[in-house]
């Protein structure tokens, strides 16, 4: 009876939502998020809440280069082949067996090798960014190099880690790194030739540029940071990419950058053909806690206040949840998805108002979230079947200190220290921004999420080292498999030969689970 009621409610909800532009077919996972929307929701139901207990291991693959992992990227699956990455590496694997087909290794000149988020694929080309600031095009058949372009300056301590996103003939690449005070940007390259088509700077590069008034002077503005760590999402109907931007520089010592520091810690809508900005929404005005706002801007079409709307939702690193109208960036919902103590509510635009007392202090101030944030890069998920936005979250406290008390700090100038954290999955009702259910983990750490029409939510339970399936409606644990270490990426699912697979990375191993029914 309960199940019937649940199915009915899911059906009713499904009727209220319409297919979101940019969704992909279920027989693969052809982009970082599976499709352009960033929802990481699969319509597949072969594996579902009734039979998930029978999910078993199909195969596993351990990275052939020791020390290259952990797997922090999302593998892509196209035409029965898995494309897996680690910094400086791409592997092509048989999706039926895990057998290695080819392996590309970049001869590195440096850069931080902390993670690579994955490849982009267009036709017979595979695109990957390397830590030493290159965007590389590979032949999908054998992994041989077609072209490579320098996208950032290693001497300025940039590096590259984001998965390229392909929109038409545009290969869109972001940049990483927040050591020195340098500007973030996102740029587009011709998929065939590699030539740069446009670059959009996150922070004003000269007086009079948009957002300039939110900085004290040109020098601070043009060195103001705002890295583009994560792949954008895309709405083909509106022809807008949604780019998310990182924290301002100097990171923690904030004295010499009063103002909102646009367009750092923001969600911006750009035209993918020319890189021109249409609108922005700043998730963290004048951030002082390293809370980049680069969490996935998830796109879905659903009812809001009784009207069908084109929506964008983000659970931001600062602990705030936003639902925007993605046509114009107007905020419809602003809320807290964990307890936060650093803001004085929201302004009329729906942006948080920072509490100056919770900026880092010489003698320390206790802040939640901590530097790692209420969430971080592990991808969230939105299920149109449940209407819930799922995020891997932390209620985390730490003390923030200013180390450089001077008037002109550079770089970092402070940090947080110590702490306590409780990790959990938060399921947020997009209509209200309220947490519908919360499932706490004993283990620490964040993992990516995948929801399916089978009423399942796949994720990891942190350092407990299990890959877990939760009931997507209630959060109850239904299934787990010990994968030895933390789930380190976002799980994916696809069908092959009529069988549904669920794939996840944990440490240096990729695990493919399959329902053999």
């Amino acid at each position: 009876m309960i199940r019937t009621a649940l199915l009915l409610s899911l059906l009713v909800f499904a009727l209220q939502t319409s297919p979101t532009p940019g969704q992909a077919p279920p027989d693969g996972w052809p982009t970082y998020n599976g499709d352009f929307t960033g929802r990481r929701f699969s319509p597949l139901t072969k594996i579902n809440d009734r039979n998930v207990k029978g999910l078993g291991l199909g195969w596993s693959y351990r990275l052939s280069t020791p020390g290259a992992g952990p797997i922090k990227g999302t593998p892509l699956v196209v035409n029965g082949i898995v494309y897996l990455t680690a910094p400086d590496h791409v592997w092509a694997l048989d999706a039926r067996t895990g057998r290695e087909i080819w392996h590309f290794e970049n001869k590195s000149k440096g850069g931080i090798h902390i993670g690579n988020r994955g490849v982009g694929i267009r036709g017979d080309s595979v695109f990957v960014a390397t830590p030493d600031c290159h965007l590389v095009s590979l032949n999908i058949k054998d992994g041989t190099e077609r072209w490579r372009k320098t996208i950032c300056d290693l001497d300025l301590y940039y590096y590259a880690s984001a998965a390229p996103v392909i929109v038409g003939n545009h290969v869109i690449a972001g940049v990483s790194g927040d050591d020195l005070d340098v500007p973030g940007y996102v740029q587009s390259h011709d998929a065939d030739t590699g030539e740069m088509q446009w670059r959009w700077y996150v922070v004003p590069q000269k007086k009079g540029d948009p957002g300039f008034d939110s900085w004290p002077n040109e020098d601070m503005a043009k060195h103001g940071g705002g890295m583009t760590w994560q792949p954008p999402t895309y709405d083909p109907e509106l022809n807008l990419i949604y780019v998310t931007t990182g924290n301002p520089q100097p990171v923690v010592a904030f004295k010499n950058r009063p103002g909102a520091n646009l367009f750092t810690a923001s969600i911006v809508a750009l035209n993918p053909d020319d890189g021109k900005m249409k609108w922005y929404f700043q998730s963290s005005p004048n951030d002082t806690h390293d809370w980049d706002a680069t969490q996935t801007p998830v796109l879905f079409d659903a009812d809001f206040d009784g009207q069908p709307r084109k929506l964008l939702a983000q659970a931001s690193r600062n602990g705030k949840f936003f639902v925007l109208d993605r046509r114009d960036g107007r905020a419809l919902v602003s809320s807290d998805y964990v307890v936060t103590n650093w803001s004085l509510g929201f302004d009329k635009k729906g942006e948080p108002i920072p509490n100056p007392a919770k900026n880092p202090q010489i003698d320390g101030t206790l802040v939640t979230p901590n530097q790692g944030g209420a969430t971080n890069w592990p991808p969230p998920s939105f299920s149109p079947a449940t209407g819930l936005f799922y995020v891997s979250a932390a209620q985390a406290y730490s003390v923030w200190y200013i180390y450089d008390p001077g008037d002109n700090p550079q770089g970092w100038g402070g940090t947080d220290r110590g702490g306590w954290s409780q990790n959990m999955v938060q399921a947020i009702d997009y209509k209200t921004g309220k947490v519908r259910w919360s499932h706490k983990w004993e283990g620490g750490g964040l993992s990516g999420l995948l929801s399916t029409a089978g009423n399942l939510l796949f994720t990891g339970d942190g350092s407990s080292g299990n890959f877990v399936a939760l009931n997507a409606t209630t959060g109850d644990p239904l299934w787990h498999a010990g994968v030895r270490t933390s789930v380190s990426n976002g799980p994916i699912t696809y069908t092959l030969d009529g069988l549904q697979y669920v794939m996840v990375g944990a440490g240096d191993t990729l695990w493919a689970f399959v329902m053999n029914e």
Binding site: G67, G69, P70, K72, G110, G111, I112, H113, I114, G115, L154, D155, L156, Y157, S176, D178, D179, L180, D219, N247, P250, V251, D290, D292, I362, D363, G364, T365, L366, N370, Q371, G372, G373, N376, W377, A394, Y397, S398, V399, Y401, I402, Y403, N408, Q410, G411, W412, G413, R417, G418, G419, W420, S421, W441, G444, G462, S463, H480, T485, S488, G507
Partner: protein, 375 residues
């Protein structure tokens, strides 16, 4: 974004290594420096991965989230390793206090920095310049004489001259390769103090190669000063509270006195710990209290199985599906968590965790001031 991170999360780790040689390239792989024999490494051997049983513990704790090679790519002082481990515990690293203590001991011996060696934790190219601290020090008076008036003591610029820490010439430089030609041929004429803008001195054609090298080291040192983990970045004065108000909070609203006593367990705590350590330890005891000992506090658990058996003891591991503990006889017991299994966890630091959501910054500073008086 750290904190992979972390944060990464990208986390506060990079791939650079410390500057330890004159202009030497950073080694491609971490090369443990020789250290005195540790109590657990074979006598006369340096502590490293091959011969130190503690390595496995460190590798396991850190390896849950990071490639171990990334963790140890940057050498750190012992106190920096301690702070790093505390941070990681705060971000969810799980292990016993003894395991964390073991990891810190190993990391500070095998991947430590002794004495005055600078920590230059940085990203950037493999061939980035490594600062020789002695050369930087020798460059200081030269900088003071030739550059400071316009570019400022910290090289971050003044109204008279640009910021050199952000200078592309400096950032692209390799031991004077870009700096030398620029200074000798392109640097604008420098006004002679007190004689108006028209009166300019000579350009820097006469700088010797050695002088250029010293300036290059000095300037790279100033760039490194801005990076997270820079040695100059230390907490300032945290003793800003009111000790009397702190005592009131301790004995009243804070509820501290229900477990602690200024003349008992906390007697002399202000003598034993620095103020910032006091602050960290009372807020985050689970992260900051790592040392095992007779009074070590561990999480315990009581499990009532479906069959009605009750097990109790120190928690080994727990997730949604299994719980394991050491029973009263010291045996390892593992229990599947079924709907009929009852689990009660007892965290000795629960009162500290509860405090986090209600304590104010004023309370924190007052309590630190009070604890500091307990000499």
């Amino acid at each position: 974004m750290r904190f992979e991170f972390i944060g990464v999360i990208v986390l506060a780790v990079g791939v650079a290594v410390s500057g330890q040689g004159r202009g030497a390239r950073p080694p491609a792989q971490p090369q443990p420096r020789p250290t005195p024999a540790s109590p657990v490494a074979p006598a006369g051997q340096p502590s490293n991965e091959q011969n130190d049983p503690r390595a496995a513990t460190a590798r396991r704790l850190c390896g849950v989230c990071h490639p171990f090679e990334t963790v140890v790519a940057i050498r750190r002082t012992k106190s920096q390793w301690e702070a790093t481990v505390e941070n990681m515990i705060g971000r969810g690293a799980r292990g016993t206090p003894a395991e964390f203590a073991t990891a810190i001991d190993f990391l500070s011996e095998a991947y430590g920095l002794s004495g005055a060696g600078p920590v230059r934790m940085a990203a950037g190219p493999d061939d980035k310049p490594i600062v020789d601290p002695k050369a930087s020090e020798m460059g200081t008076p030269l900088y003071g004489q030739e550059c400071l008036a316009c570019h400022g003591a910290d090289a971050r610029g003044t109204a008279a001259g640009p910021n050199l820490v952000r200078s592309l010439t400096v950032l692209h430089d390799r031991y004077g390769s870009a700096l030398g030609p620029y200074l000798r041929t392109s640097h604008p004429p420098v006004p002679i103090a007190g004689r108006g803008a028209a009166a300019t001195g000579p350009k820097f054609e006469t700088l010797t190669n050695t002088q250029v090298l010293l300036l290059a080291h000095f300037l790279r040192d100033r760039v490194n000063d801005t990076l997270r983990g820079a040695p100059m970045f230390k907490p300032g004065n945290v003793l800003t509270g009111d000790a009397r108000a702190g005592a009131e909070y301790f004995n009243g609203e804070g509820g501290c006195a229900s477990c602690h006593s200024s003349t008992g367990d906390l007697a002399g705590i202000g003598r034993r710990l620095e103020p910032v350590a006091l602050q960290q330890r009372f807020l985050f005891p689970a992260a900051a209290t790592r040392r095992p000992g007779p009074n070590a506090r561990v999480v315990t658990v009581t499990v009532t199985t479906e069959s009605g058996e009750t097990l109790s003891g120190p928690l080994e591991r727990m997730d949604d599906f299994t719980v394991s503990l050491r029973d009263a006889a010291g045996n390892y017991r593992s229990v599947r968590r079924t709907p009929g299994t009852r689990v009660v966890k007892n965290d000795p630091f629960a009162a500290h965790i509860e405090l986090l959501s209600r304590i104010t910054d004023k309370n924190i500073h007052d309590v630190v001031a009070y604890l500091e008086t307990l000499k």
